[in-house]
Symmetry: none
Subunit: 262 residues, 2 copies
DNA sequence: CTGATTATGATTGATTATGATTATAATAGA
DNA sequence: TCTATTATAATCATAATCAATCATAATCAG
């Protein structure tokens, strides 16, 4: 179902306010409309002083957006994560029940799935839940648990226990390390336990990992590569991984790294 | 059975508020009337500021500027709630494990307790958890559950089940109605169930209720006044309540209305 | 009853949203 | 710098949607 221009503009605006900027190309992909439409939207909103137009996109006009360095830091790999997230979103269908792990890599995913309907999203992240709080057509289920201040993730026995009683079609996890022998790893042992549980409770398991995670092994292991249904990443992936994934019949989806702006 | 136009308009409005949007075509099919009629309805309701018209349909006026309305709602009795919250905070000691119910009345409470140390805060609100995310000396536990978009509260079986395994020293609840015979009530039956569970799992139970809640009875009951340890409120409370609370030996803490300037 | 009012549906020319195209402008790379 | 690439505004075509209008039927007042 197509969005009305009002809705689209609202989402563009919140996207820009959240991330400081947006490119025409990304918005085209996000909303599935033409460049003309996006440009018209941006120009109209600029007239209303809601944002500032730039070549290739627009930036936030809001004085609320302090500290350009902060935006920069958050946005460091924003483009890559955005692309990975959009690709991951393409695996999701209307009516699915999905599980979205906490983490900065999966956060753009919940942004990307806002346009879907009749979706049930289970998450162990307060931030992800907040991002979906104004999407009335998406059923949001938050796993309980102890809030880890470091990662804003909910972890621990309450989380694992909540997962016990749930089963989802697809799980989308982040990881700190993905290695052929070391498997899937993360620095925190309690988060690893929760991630493991997520794998157990999902039919299909996808990992979102930018290419810097490949070949890395962190402290706590939460799964093997063979546990996966697929992995979505970007950039150059070592041939050994490509072969190993192919041999195990695991999907390896690599989004192109064509850079833009800045 | 033909609908009267008023009835149709009401249903269109609730449809839009529920789903955030509606298309002329869908409404035509839903109500079996012509496009002209639907457009007239929508235009009239737009004049009354009940919704926002778009090409092809209409979107909710609330969801478009959800943020301001939410802030507005929070701010409505902000001064009063602030005072009630500060008073409630005085019942909390370092080292306590407390439960804070979702709601606009209890939100200032978590702001007020940030200064305390060694506190464990259990909450069923994503918003409350977010407010505490940068307080590393406070252990935050989020109850899981389905996110109710209307109140941003987590409710349902997952929430209740998470509560099963917890016990807290003090619970701080909001309520929509507090009445001598009607007890404690709230409009939503699922939220009532969660509130009931909270009462069961706490040693001391406090209700935060501004004076407009007294004598009100909402749809779903979650407890009796005799369940309470105390009630913190403001303004003028009817003498019958004062006597009843005194007789049941329940604390009734009334913060004065013109305390501190502004 | 009659005439007025109201709600509705049908018709139609006008308006809007959108995508495609193209010549121009801005940017990046050599 | 100059050139290639990319983004842009301006234009046009088209399909969807709309407002305005009129006709009809139901309802209401007297």
């Amino acid at each position: 179902m197509p969005l009305y221009s009002e809705e689209r503009k609202n989402r563009i605006l919140s996207d820009i306010e959240q991330h400081g900027r947006a490119s025409v190309q990304d918005l085209v992909e996000t909303f599935g409309v033409s460049e003309s439409t996006i440009r018209r939207d941006l120009n109209e909103m600029e007239k209303e002083k809601l944002l500032k137009r730039t070549h290739g996109g627009a930036v936030s006009n809001d004085s609320v957006n302090f500290e350009p360095t902060m935006i920069e830091r958050v946005d460091r790999f924003y483009q890559e994560k955005q692309k990975i997230a959009r690709k991951a979103a393409s695996y999701i269908n209307n009516g699915d029940t999905i599980l979205v792990d906490a983490g900065t890599t999966t956060l753009p995913l919940v942004e990307a799935i806002k346009i879907l309907k009749e979706l049930t999203v289970v998450t162990n992240s307060v931030v992800h839940a907040e991002a979906l709080k104004n999407s009335p057509h998406i059923e949001v289920v938050v796993l309980g648990g102890r809030l880890r201040h470091e990662t804003q993730a909910l972890v621990g026995p309450i989380t694992d226990q909540a997962l016990d009683h749930l089963h989802v079609d697809k799980a989308f996890l982040g990881t700190n390390g993905i290695d052929l022998s070391g498997g899937l790893t993360t620095p925190n042992i309690i988060e690893a336990s929760t991630k493991r549980k997520m794998i157990d409770q999902a039919t299909e398991i996808y990992v979102l990992a930018d290419n810097s995670k490949f070949g890395k092994v962190a402290f706590a292991k939460f799964g093997e590569i063979s546990d996966l249904t697929g992995c979505i990443t970007d950039g150059e992936v070592d041939l050994s991984f490509v072969e190993a994934f192919h041999q195990k019949n695991i999907l390896l989806d690599i989004v192109s790294q064509q850079e833009e702006g800045r």
